[in-house]
Amino acid sequence: MSSTDTRMKVSVWRGDHEGGEFQIFDVPAQDSQTVLDVVAWIQQNDDPTLSYRFACRVGMCGSCAMMVNGQPRWTCRTHVKKVLKDNCIEIGPLRNLPVIKDLAADMDPFFEKWVKAEGVFHPSKTRNDQIEEIDPASVQRVKADAGIECINCSVCYASCDTVAGNPDFLGPAALNRAWTLYNDSRDAGSRKILDAVSGAGGCHNCHSMGSCAHFCPNGLNPMDAIAGLKRATAAAFFRRRT
């Protein structure tokens, strides 16, 4: 750590579900500093009452996502030098979720929708069956693999304007998960999944604005997954009538 005299102006959102405001902190700049480092510095050296959430610090757990200068990001994988503007940074809790306190958003609605979209594995075999062989090159598996790296960080959910305007909308992450399971040959719940994503808050509300794909730190494309669900549900709709 090189100690320099350079200091940054960091606006941090303080408050809870009832409201709040930005508070400005004066934070020393360091080499290779991440936004999460900045938040940690404030909490350890300036105001111990600052609440935030993190775990792994290396982009694996998906718990440190926040709004940085109005864009959702993993704070642990965002270098300060990349987002510093006029020596200032603004850090807030994830958009589209209730705030517990300060930078910690309440993830409950996000995970509830995950389950509501049938984003849970539906086993097709018992422990007594042989382990199924999966060809990683098969068309269906390639489709499932495309969305498998989601770590539930809610960056896409926070970026989505359809979620903002339509609180029932299941959102990009849950629908991406539903599409992944739908293409998993070991999952026995494809009918359940299609029904779950066809209701009033389902995949058909998506306007393909692509913020989810634009901001996903893992480079996934939930918009593409949702388009897949739209095709699958439409095909199933006509199949069932004939």
């Binding site: 864009q71 970026s159 304007d161 393909s208 913020s211 388009a227 897949g228 095709r231």
Partner: protein
């Protein structure tokens, strides 16, 4: 309005599609009302059509044609994205939709003046 999480091409394509759609929907009743004069009130319709010869109204018509064209080409892109597994090059296609709309509405404008 255009907050930082919205500054990317497909969001602009989205807002263009929504605003053009809303404006077209609001324009339709006026469009239908004027045309419904044709049978019994042809003179009144002609009076209105003469009014549309004013340069400013011509320019507004160009705007309407652009709205229709951009909603049409943008909508075709969305239909292709949803109906066929075409996912790549959406930004290029969205830009192409706007380009074609300028071409079509520009042709209309040149014919109109």
């Amino acid at each position: 309005m255009i907050r930082p999480h919205r500054t990317h091409p497909l969001w602009y394509a989205f807002i263009l599609h929504r605003v053009s759609g809303a404006l077209l929907a609001l324009f339709l009743p006026a469009h239908f009302w004027v045309l419904s004069m044709a049978l019994n009130e042809a003179a009144r319709l002609d009076g209105f059509l003469a009014w549309t010869d004013m340069p400013l109204v011509k320019f507004a018509e160009f705007g309407l044609v652009f709205l229709l064209a951009v909603h049409f080409f943008g909508g075709l892109r969305l239909l292709a994205l949803e109906l066929m597994p075409w996912t790549s090059r959406q930004k290029t296609l969205a830009a192409g939709a706007v380009g074609l709309s300028v071409l079509v509405s520009g042709t209309f404008f040149l014919q109109a003046v």
